[in-house]
């Protein structure tokens, strides 16, 4: 059974399109070596989960993929992050355009202090879409994709800060979708949400799978097991193990992975 699965993995990895290819990625914040020699591939249209205890580097890894770490002081990076074969850390890269292609949903809901409509229209507007009718279509389509439309369609003019936590988080997802990304990063998107809101986000992730490549950083190993195809286990800035989620959770190859998922530490 295990052998069968690993043969599936090898066949898949050779056949499937690679969306993101990370090679020998090292990240430093001042003197702190936050990521050590990370190499992995993310396939097109998969859901990859990144798990690990606090300070394991999983969020830092995620934020490297669309260069959100550039905002941190003393940030330094070595190695390559290829998106469709092109290194995102090339000096010629248009960073705002990269962030449009690689959207992110943060750990805490971060609606901007404006109406629901404006929150979603913000991204398209910045890219030059000014026409109201087009924006209305984008807002409706994005909210529907994020499974929020039915709840807020009569509240588009209300402040986004008035929505519930779960709604705000789906609004942030809709907002990320509005600029038509190719990859969506989730940084512990359900850490502050109740189980029902969490389930809604997870359902939405499945729905989105046919169009997007998704990477989920989570502290909740059960969530990783539920949602993801493959799982990567990070520990102290290192990638300990990556493989099919079933395999990671049933027969991990590294002792540290087993210790973590069985709750012996972390």
């Amino acid at each position: 059974m295990v052998e069968q699965q690993s043969s599936v993995v090898s066949r898949q990895s050779s056949e499937r399109n690679v969306k993101i290819n990370v090679g020998n990625l090292n990240v430093y914040f001042g003197a702190i070596h936050a990521l050590r020699n990370i190499s992995l591939e993310v396939y097109k249209n998969e859901i990859l989960a990144a798990i690990g205890p606090a300070n394991s580097g999983k969020t830092t890894f995620l934020r490297c993929l669309n260069r959100m770490n550039d905002l941190q002081p003393n940030f330094r990076v070595e190695g390559k992050v290829l998106l469709d074969g092109k290194n995102v850390y090339d000096t010629a890269v248009d960073v705002p355009f990269l962030r449009r292609r690689v959207g992110v949903v943060f750990a805490t809901p971060t609606p901007l202090p404006m109406s629901v409509f404006e929150n979603i229209a913000y991204g398209p507007r910045r890219l030059g879409t000014g026409k109201r009718s087009i924006l209305e279509k984008i807002v409706e389509r994005s909210l529907k994709k994020a499974a929020l439309w039915d709840e807020v369609k009569n509240r588009l003019r209300d402040s986004a800060l008035k929505l519930s936590g779960g709604q705000q988080q789906r609004l942030c997802l809709a907002r990320a979708l509005a600029v038509e990304p190719e990859v969506i990063l989730y940084d512990e998107p359900c850490s502050g949400l109740d189980p029902i809101s969490t389930a809604k986000i997870e359902e939405t992730m499945f729905e989105l799978q046919k169009d997007y490549t998704q990477i989920l950083v989570t502290n909740n190993t059960k969530q990783a097991a539920r949602v993801s195809e493959r799982t990567a286990f990070f520990l102290m800035g290192e990638l300990v193990e990556i493989g099919l989620t079933d395999k990671i959770f049933t027969a991990p190859q590294d002792q540290r992975t087993e210790d973590y998922i069985t709750g012996r530490f972390g």
Binding site: M68, L71, P73, P96, F97, G123, R126, V179
Partner: protein, 287 residues
């Protein structure tokens, strides 16, 4: 049962609180009492709208319109200079500058705030005044414009530090949310950070204006002190503060002239009070 030290500290704080409020009340009471003596002999309307300030002629004329306009021109000019410069500096310090540049700039602004106004006035007198005179080919460089430029430097630190605080207080999540959607840094500043810090920015501007209106020493030295109604910024003016400061020493206590200076004080007090109230309103307004 409270401990005696607790009891004592509570009473001590209470006493100090009441004392400072009482002091403000007494100052206002004294100002009003003295100032209103003028209106026994001189109509309030003539005082506020009179176009001539001849306090020691016979009969004396206590029209403070030229002084109000003098204060207005200098303040308006200083505001026009200080606000764009101050807000831009604050934006640069809070949003763009990094590392040691940021620290140096912050310290620099604090040093600017620490320069005594008389020193600024003195420096302005020997450098700025001749410059203005030459540049515009006017008989004297002691003009409203010189005062406005000099006062702009005094208002700037107030504007910069309050606006910078307001910008820094904008949650990081707003910026990240905007950046993550592909907005550029400038779009983020312009569309998200500045609107979110809006009330703090207005408050900073208001307090800067308050600082300028109340300023005395520097304006007295470089605005020419001619109590005439100004038509352009290139004329000498005299502000309300400079009038009080320069004339209080030479008036007879208890005379109408003496009372009229107190009455100017009331006008000044009311204006500053309104500005501070407005600043407070903006500062504490919830989104």
């Amino acid at each position: 049962m409270k401990r005696p030290t607790e009891w004592f500290i509570e009473r001590w704080i209470l006493f100090n609180g009441i004392f400072s409020i009482a002091a403000v009340g007494l100052i206002f009471f004294f100002l009003t009492k003295e100032g209103f003596n003028l209106f026994k002999h001189y109509p309030l309307k003539d005082f506020l709208s009179g176009r001539q300030w001849y306090p020691i002629s016979e009969p004396p004329k206590f029209g403070i319109l030229p002084l109000i306009l003098g204060s207005f021109w200098v303040t308006a000019g200083a505001t026009l200079i200080a606000v764009p410069l101050g807000v831009a500096s604050a934006l640069f310090i809070a949003e763009v500058a990094k590392g040691w540049i940021k620290e140096y700039l912050k310290v620099g602004v604090e040093i600017l705030a620490a320069i005594p106004s008389v020193v600024l006035g003195f420096v302005g007198l020997v450098t700025l005044v001749p410059m203005v005179k030459q540049m515009f080919h006017i008989p004297t460089g002691l003009t409203a414009l010189s005062g406005a430029i000099m006062l702009a430097f005094m208002a700037m630190p107030t504007v910069v530090s309050i606006v910078e605080d307001a910008l820094t207080a904008v949650p990081r999540s707003y910026r990240e949310g905007s950046i993550a959607m592909g907005a550029t840094q400038w779009q983020t500043i312009y569309r998200i950070t500045v609107p979110a810090a809006g009330s703090g920015i207005v408050a900073g501007v208001m307090l800067g204006i308050g600082r300028v209106i109340g300023e005395t020493m520097a304006v007295m030295m470089i605005t020419g002190n001619a109590a005439v109604i100004p038509h352009t910024l290139l004329q000498p003016v005299r502000t309300m503060t400079a009038t009080i400061a320069s004339e209080m020493g030479e008036t007879v206590q208890g005379s109408d002239h003496y009372f009229s200076l107190f009455a100017i004080g009331i006008v000044l007090f009311v204006i500053t009070f309104i500005i501070n109230l407005a600043a407070d309103f903006f500062l504490h307004r919830k989104k």
